[in-house]
Homo-oligomer: 346 residues x 3
């Protein structure tokens, strides 16, 4: 059970309710009225918990689990221990996510505006916006219904934020328009100047950064990640994209819908990603490139040219993964040679 | 036109005024009294906008542009479309930067000290310093004329900040002396302890970090970048240097004047860079090295030995770029081989 | 001498006192009652300063030093200049750390709770906790004796912090339990949601992150570093571990005791490190791996499989260092070839 110091559990739910919420179907023999009080991992779950099996690696844990109920794919259901109620689904992990959301909805927050918030008289906030202590809201900012602004966060003049957003603590927002249901984790920086200079030995001349950042609905951005505003046009993060911690997104970058960007990635200025691109951790993408829809960029890749839609790439510089694996195999062999016959032949 | 929600445009300016401000000369046929109301890109500019052509790649956009006026190098002026007023200059991008600065000067800020700022009685602020809501200024801190301290920024005891600086929101400053006209973007951390321990299996012993950070005039530092203070001497960022987001600068590092450091670079302790060094994104530089003036370090390089002045290096470990390109070409070939003849011969 | 603007020096101490505090023994001829007023580097120390020699590279500086006293290993003592008092020790750098801590103990802080802090009525703080201006302490948080909460830091509901901690400015804490004598530098983010989604083209479904972050005693975490909370279990940082700036630690990661993690490292979710693992800057470790006790991972390595205890690895992908060095040597040769004989033979 999650620590009650931090998490309030809802429920209980019957198996019938959980089947409805997760889209799973109850297997024969399961009692629709049986009560489930929590979610838990296979190895820690007890008779009143719901667990899930998503990966064949955990079949042994599944066989030994004491979970009262379990989300499982049809092909693995036959391996269930006796007495376990099964909820059958093609996507056990998605179903688990929905069940866990039911037991642990987003924590309720103290409503209202803290007396220690500094809200400009010319800001427009929906009636039920929550503003925590120390938050600063600038002139002409607009904030939609049910959005929460975290403690000590700074919302600059003119910034627009939609409804149902969760803006964490110690965040800085300027020069940006933010959609609905967006989640920004602590320390996010959105809308500051991009890195643009007319360089010269006698001094680098700053080029005014006159664009904005546009963030679509249901985007999530991780802690201490930075998104710079555009130079003339806008920097855009497409709806439903998920960005991890400590990511750098340069000016004029465009992300399509549903992109996934893992921690410490850097995307250089003016690069465009189409929908559903996935980028592994610590990868870097050079500027002014185009990455097609559904491309998959392995962790720590260095992308220096356009990537076609659907292509999987890896390495430095990044190449299609088949090439990348051959390159890695060669590098491994090079390291393993005791002497160095190649050298002697040269 | 930039979003008036965030940017206030100045002007209009006549072509004669713009020529004077940018150092360009009006081409024959251009009306010195013609009025320009904004800057814009070649493809979006209209008859009352000023644009620029800096790169031969955009010659077609130049030929097709509806811009009323354009900054252009002498060699390309002949390709201008009919009716476009030309401002001739050897450095169109620098000239554009100056023109854009004229139309969009740094946003005016609400003057004064917000009632929600916490300013120690023993701090000394020039009369026209702006302190935004939630900022905290420590004892004996000194802040020069016209400097702005952003919302929820923390200026530690004894910190000195010069005149005309723009310190963003949610910044933390301690143990540092900052020059004039410095810009620190949101989330910057300056002056915290360097990473120094006398390591041992029985526990790592912290070595007191007794130096400072010295930041020269007109330095710009990007969002969430960290600069640690020196161990005994100081960490120094030379005047006019430009540092991007999420950069790590270790204790005792010295940057010369006008260095450019792109996002997510790490510079390890006690390394010295002379003037005008440029470092591409995500590169890493080991500790206790020397990089000569004007050296150019490619993105994602790993520098593990000294670099002579003016040398261009790349790769991991970093080598002169000609070597680096040959190495990359070899790696590419290694990946492309279907079988692996080399292996069979060994 | 350290800048009195930022550092208050204690002392003076006699050589006898310094020998006792550092565990060194006074060499013959040194006056136990002689007075030392400060610590300093070999090249800047004067007759009333204590210095140290830890590295044979600095023997010449040692011979020329004007330091009144010096910590030195037995083997190098004979090279001391005439008149220098010697404190003999097997670990001069550790001894220096202790001496410097004596002269420069952690700066005393203004006591009490600033009127501009926002402390929830249901938080429990020991009587002598220091809370700086703008800090926000949530409901049911508990903070131990002599702990200091920096300006504009946010401590979430239910967070527990032990005694004698130093929590820097602009930090965000949630869903975490923190031990005693922990130091968190500015901008640290602890306890935010891990990066967990059930991914799908129709939208990525957020998986509730129901664990915590547990931080052991005497841990130090650098500026702008992020530690995500666990998914179901906890993310754990073992006692005495030292983590540098801008590091990313994913959900469910476990660090043993005394680990050292240099700047900009990323550790992916569910990876476990045993005690005393050292990771160089900008390295990356994939998820669900195990790194044995005392392993040493070179800077910028990419670890993609388990590492046995005590092994030293480097490179991308990481291999034992002997292999890594051979690989690097081959890469260097590849770059140096003018033509490319290999290619022609293929």
């Amino acid at each position: 059970m999650a620590d009650p110091r931090f998490f309030a559990v809802r429920g209980p739910f019957t198996l019938a309710e959980l089947a409805a919420r997760t889209g799973a179907s109850l297997a024969a023999g399961a009692d629709p009225g049986a009560t489930i009080v929590d979610v838990a991992a296979l190895d820690t779950a007890g008779p009143s918990d719901l667990s899930f099996l998503d990966n064949r690696r955990y079949v042994e844990a599944f066989k030994a689990s004491r979970a009262g109920a379990c989300l499982v794919a049809p092909a693995l259901a036959a391996m269930a221990p006796e007495g376990m109620a099964l909820l059958i689904t093609d996507k056990p992990y998605h179903a688990y996510a929905r069940a866990a959301q039911a037991f642990y909805p987003e924590a309720p927050v103290p409503s209202g505006r803290h007396a220690r918030a500094a809200i400009d008289a010319a800001a427009r906030l929906a009636d039920d916006v929550v503003v925590e202590a120390g938050a600063v809201i600038g002139a002409r900012a607009e904030i939609g219904a049910r959005t929460r602004i975290g403690a000590n966060t700074v919302v600059g003049p003119g910034v627009m934020i939609g409804a149902d957003c969760l803006i964490g603590a110690n965040v800085t927002l300027s020069h940006c328009l933010i959609g609905n249901a967006v989640r920004l984790l602590p320390g996010v920086r959105i809308g500051q100047d991009g890195f643009g200079y007319a360089m010269g030995a006698e001094g680098h001349l700053k080029v005014p950064q006159l664009g904005r950042v546009i963030i679509g609905d249901a985007v999530e951005i991780g802690a201490n990640t930075c998104v710079d505003r555009g130079t003339a046009g806008d920097t855009v993060i497409g709806a439903g994209s998920c960005i991890d911690n400590l990511v750098q997104i340069g000016h004029n970058v465009k992300l399509g819908r549903g992109c996934v960007v893992v921690a410490q990635v850097g995307i250089s200025g003016s690069t465009r990603l189409d929908d559903l691109v996935v980028i592994g951790g610590q990868a870097g993408i050079a500027g002014h490139l185009h990455v097609g829809a559904g491309a998959l960029i392995a962790a720590r890749s260095a992308v220096v040219k356009d990537i076609p839609a659907g292509q999987k790439v890896g390495g430095e510089p990044a190449v299609p993964v088949a090439e990348f694996y051959r390159r890695v195999a060669m590098l491994r062999r090079m390291g393993r040679r005791k002497g160095d016959e190649n050298e002697q032949r040269d």
